[in-house]
Symmetry: C2
Subunit: 323 residues, 2 copies
């Protein structure tokens, strides 16, 4: 009998579901942020179930034998610190869990803008009947910045609803099955002027941090709406606020923020042309079960020595593939 | 030279756009409700541009030579009074103008329910960050009651977004290109229990008036949402309010009402699980121009003695065809 495998699970009060098989095969240490360093000592693997935690880099000094880290999210930026990046530790993510739910969310905010639903709700709260004309979405142009699986799911759904979608990714190309044309993110301002809707869903990397800045917003149509379901740090928030205040762009729907929860004093909460939601676009009923299943399958593979699913290229900052 | 053709146009302060060719070919009398009877005397045709007006039946006694009535809406119930129904006057409508805009509106309210956007907006108004899980729409069951062009556009768009759609219409059948299965509206309660979303878009006729009553709501799932983009009179409003108050159904999105504007004291305005909009689902930017074009083309045909478009079967109460 070989030595017992030890797994550390970083979680809050809520343990991940579906861990029965994992617990039968390994010693599992559930811990919050405070106990993380201690729980990492001697552990073979780390499951970051509390994917919003920023505690891993500070506790990593204690990870004396971790060979695999799995995170219960699509974005891996909270665990891509230099020591991990330079190590031989394998990093896997939960690619695929959120794709279609986020796509539905994006279509929902597009329709909320087009059909002026926020105004309808405000008028309803005052029992006021005020007819307005609203916009069609068919034929409108969308630029999806980020051509990973979530961006692709968004492209497919918006196209199915009659919109015209192109993408922006690491390298320009044509003939993409979901986007048709993909522009280079490095030349973003050149391609923004055509879009009625701009969707940010790129992974957060050194290249994409602050991609949406004053220059980007200045390149958009005054009628454009900006939708962020990626990461708050893709945006220079002060520049976005200025663009909205000066009506340089027409609106924004934001599910992610540089600081989460968004502080109550942040002006985005109260701006007329902004829809704020609390980082929930991918979190459909049942998502936690699916996250547990994704981890359990990878854990089974890891114990059996089989290739893991969703291995992140730590230089790129995401799972390479149809990107 | 034959006698001059006279056209009466019932409109409010807003005249229909695109009437230049019509005015060149006929004497056009623009009138409000008060002057309608006088303007009908000696007129050959009536264009009801103010399609919400109920003034036509009361002024019809003066229509001594009208042979054609065109209405700037899809629903013809405001002009299907007995004297018109029994006359030889040809009735045409504006079928097709609203289809795709209404379909987008329905998809928008479906997503608003599924993604809990109304609650997000209420929380935003309080600057409160409160994460929730939300619903998927893919795979959910929709029953569209009304299989005319608007119902078909709704079915196509919701299917494209991944939903499972069936229809209910005058007669049951299978193999419908847009619905697959169409159930008989007469047996509605048998088919309601399967639907996550029930969409009312049938024409208002003696057969469909009050179709959605206590018995219909009792047959729905407690989690079902009811969406009305047809006519308020399709619904027994008191029964709907009871079903919502007792949580017999989960919600309603209502764009049409028995009385419009919806009176400020109506409880629907303030109910938590209700979305009220002011009869605007089909009224996209540019709709008035399109309504003008549809009339102008039919007027050209009428003068030329060509077959008119969108001739209503006055016994059925709608344009027969792919229904």
């Amino acid at each position: 009998m070989g030595p017992v495998t030890t797994l550390t699970v970083l979680c809050g009060d809520l343990k991940p579901p579906g861990m029965r098989d994992v617990e039968a095969a390994a010693e599992v240490r559930y811990t919050g942020e405070a106990g993380l360093a201690e729980a990492l000592r001697g552990a073979d693997a780390l499951f970051v179930y509390d994917f919003l935690s920023t505690a891993v880099p500070g506790a990593w000094h204690a990870a004396d034998r971790v060979r695999w880290l799995h995170i219960a999210s699509a974005g891996v930026d909270p665990v891509l610190f230099p020591a991990l990046r330079e190590s031989d530790v394998v990093l896997t993510n939960s690619r695929g869990v959120f794709d279609d739910a986020i796509a539905e969310y994006v279509l929902g905010v597009v329709l909320t803008f087009a059909k002026d639903f926020a105004r309808s709700l405000d008028l309803q709260r005052e029992s006021r009947w005020q007819h307005r004309e609203s916009e069609r979405i068919a034929g409108k142009d969308v630029l999806v910045v980020g051509t990973g699986p979530i961006g692709r799911a968004i492209a497919r759904l918006l196209r199915a609803a009659g919109m015209r979608v192109t993408g922006a990714g690491r390298r320009a190309r044509t003939g993409d099955p979901d986007f048709g044309t993909v522009h280079a993110s490095g030349e973003l301002p050149r391609h923004l002027p055509w879009a009625d809707y701009v969707v940010a869903v790129a992974p957060l990397t050194e290249k994409t941090k602050g991609l949406f800045d004053a220059r980007a917003f200045a390149a958009m149509k005054p009628s454009a709406r900006f939708i962020n379901v990626g990461r708050g740090e893709l945006v220079v928030t002060a520049d976005l606020i200025t663009a909205l205040k000066t009506e340089r762009i027409a609106g924004a729907a934001l599910d992610v923020f540089e600081t989460e929860p968004l502080p109550p004093e942040n002006p985005l909460w109260t701006m007329e042309n902004v829809l704020v939601s609390p980082h929930m676009s991918g979190d459909y009923l049942g998502w936690r079960d699916t996250l547990g299943e994704v981890f359990a399958e990878n854990f089974r593979r890891w114990l059996a020595g089989e290739p893991l699913l969703n291995v992140v290229d730590k230089k790129l900052g995401y799972v390479p593939g149809a990107v």
